[in-house]
Symmetry: C2
Subunit: 284 residues, 2 copies
C-alpha cells in the first residue's frame, strides 16, 4: 500500500496510473500537480486525485512515491525545480519514452537523489490526451520497462515494481540503450511515419473526398497521428540518435520498393511483401 502518491503531470498516463492504483486500493492518497489549472480541476472532479496543488513544492510534501508523467522535453526543467524539495526518503520514477536523455538529466540535476530515482516507461498509451481520457485498465497486460541505475537502492526498485504490478502490468528491466533502440523501432518510427502520412494527406485538394474512400488500413495506420504533438516532438528530439538512424534505413527501404515498382520488378516485390507478411503473421 502506497501511503501518499504524488503525480506530477495529470495527462493520460499519470491520471490512468492514479486511477488504477485507487481502484485496486493500492494507494491511500493521491496528490496531483499539473501546470494547467484545467487539468488540475478535471483530475479532482474525476476522482483521479484526492487533492491537487498548483505549487510543486506543496504537491511533493511527504510523498512516498513521486511519478513524473510529463513530456520528455519538460524533464530537465522539472529535475532542476524538484531537486531542492525532494526528501531523501521519497522514491521517484518517470514514464518518459526516451530513457537516455532522462537519465542524463537525472545525473546532472538529481545527484543526491539518484539512489531513489528509478527511470521507467509503461508501454501503453492511446492517441487520447488529458485526465478526461484516464483509464484504470490502461496498463493491464502491458509491459512496463524499468531501466535502473547502478546507484539505485534495490528497495526503491522493488517499490516502483510493485506499484506498476498493482495496475496489472508486467515489469521488465532492460538497459537504457536497449530501451531507446527498441522503442525507436517499435514506437517512435511508426509515430513519425503516421504523422508524415497524415500531413501528406492534408495537402490533397479535398481530403474529405479522399477519406470517404478510405478503409481500415488508412484508419489504423494513421491512428497514432492523433497523439499529443508536444509529447512526440520531445520524444523525437530526445531519442534522435537511434531514430535518425532508423529513418535513414526506412527511406532506403522505401527507395528499394520505389525502384522495384518503377522497374515493374514483380519478383522483388513478391519477395519483400511475402517476407513482411510472414514476419507479421508469425510474431503478432
Amino acid at each position: 500500500m502506497i501511503q501518499r502518491l504524488c503525480i506530477v503531470g495529470l495527462g493520460l498516463i499519470g491520471s490512468s496510473l492514479a486511477l488504477a492504483l485507487k481502484r485496486r486500493g493500492a494507494v491511500n492518497e493521491v496528490i496531483g500537480y499539473d501546470c494547467s489549472a484545467e487539468h488540475r480541476e478535471k483530475a479532482l472532479n474525476l476522482g483521479i486525485a484526492d487533492r491537487v496543488e498548483a505549487n510543486l513544492k506543496d504537491a511533493l510534501r511527504e510523498a512516498d512515491i513521486v511519478v513524473l508523467s510529463v513530456p520528455v522535453g519538460a524533464m530537465k526543467g522539472l529535475f532542476q525545480k524538484i531537486a531542492p524539495d525532494l526528501s531523501a526518503q521519497t522514491i521517484m520514477t518517470d514514464v518518459g519514452s526516451a530513457k537516455g536523455v532522462v537519465t542524463k538529466f537525472a545525473y546532472a540535476y538529481l545527484r543526491s537523489h539518484l539512489h531513489n530515482f528509478i527511470p521507467g516507461h509503461p508501454i501503453a498509451g492511446i492517441e487520447k490526451n488529458g485526465p478526461e481520457s484516464a483509464d484504470s485498465r490502461l496498463f493491464v497486460h502491458h509491459k512496463v520497462i524499468l531501466t535502473p541505475l547502478p546507484e539505485n537502492n534495490p528497495l526503491a526498485i522493488e517499490q516502483v515494481t510493485k506499484m506498476w504490478e498493482y495496475t496489472g502490468a508486467t515489469v521488465v528491466k532492460v538497459s537504457i540503450s536497449h530501451h531507446d533502440e527498441v522503442l525507436a523501432m517499435t514506437s517512435h518510427l511508426p509515430h513519425i511515419l503516421a504523422y508524415a502520412l497524415v500531413d501528406l494527406f492534408s495537402q490533397c485538394e479535398h481530403p474529405e473526398d479522399f477519406l470517404q474512400f478510405s478503409a481500415g488500413g488508412f484508419r489504423d495506420f494513421s491512428r497514432v497521428a492523433s497523439s499529443n504533438p508536444i509529447m512526440w516532438r520531445d520524444i523525437c528530439i530526445a531519442n534522435h540518435i537511434p531514430l535518425l538512424n532508423l529513418i535513414d534505413q526506412y527511406i532506403d527501404k522505401l527507395g528499394d520498393i520505389r525502384e522495384a515498382i518503377l522497374q515493374q520488378d514483380a519478383n522483388t516485390l513478391t519477395e519483400l511483401f511475402t517476407r513482411a507478411k510472414s514476419i507479421r503473421d508469425s510474431y503478432l
Copy 2:
C-alpha cells in the same frame, strides 16, 4: 434476385460477396471458379458456392452476372481467356484496386462486351485471405466504387449497383483516374509503408525481443502487412504512376522531419505534428 452468379476467384472478396448475397436471399445459384482445387473445395464445403467448376467455360455458362475477383495482375490473361465464352447478355464486373489498368485491358480484349462490363472496386478488405476468411458482413457500411465506361449499358450498371447494395454497401460512381489517384493515397501507399516497416523490423537481430515491447501503435500500423503479397504486388505495378508520385512526396516529407529532428527544430516538429493531429481528429 440474381438467378445465376459466377464468382471467378474464390478469395476473400469473391467469397464474401457470394456469402453476403446468399444470406440476403439475393441470388438463386452461385457457381464458383478458382484455379486452386483447395479453394474450390473449401468454397463448396463452406456453402459459398452451390457448385464449383475447374473449367472456366463451364463456370460461365448461363451466368447472369460474372464477378472477376482475382489479383489485378491476372486480369489481362483472364479477359483473353474469358472473352470467347461470354454470352452477350452476361453482365460482368471486377473488384480490382487499380481501375486504369483493368479498363485498358478491357478495351483491348473485351471489345464486343464493353456494354456489359462495369469496372468496380469494393473498399473493404482485411488482411486475411482465401475462402475460409469469407465474411457475409464484409461490405456492410462500406463503399463500393464503380467506374462505368461510356460504352456501358445503363441497365447493366443498375444491376451491378443493386448487387452491391444487397450486401449492405453504398455504391458511388467516380472517374477511373480519380479512383486510382485516391486509392493510391488512402490504400496503396499505406500498404507499402507497412510492408517497408515490417521488412525493416525483420532485419533486427532479435525481432521477437523487440515485439514484446511494442504497443498498439506498431500492431495497428503493421496490420496491413499481413495482406496478400501477390495481390499487393499486382496493385503496385498496376497503379504505379500515382503511387510512385506519392512515394516520392512521402520520402520528401520524411526527409523534412528527419532534418527537423537533426536540427532539434522543435517548432517545425510541433507545427507538423499538430497539423497532422488536427486533420486526423477532424476527419476520422
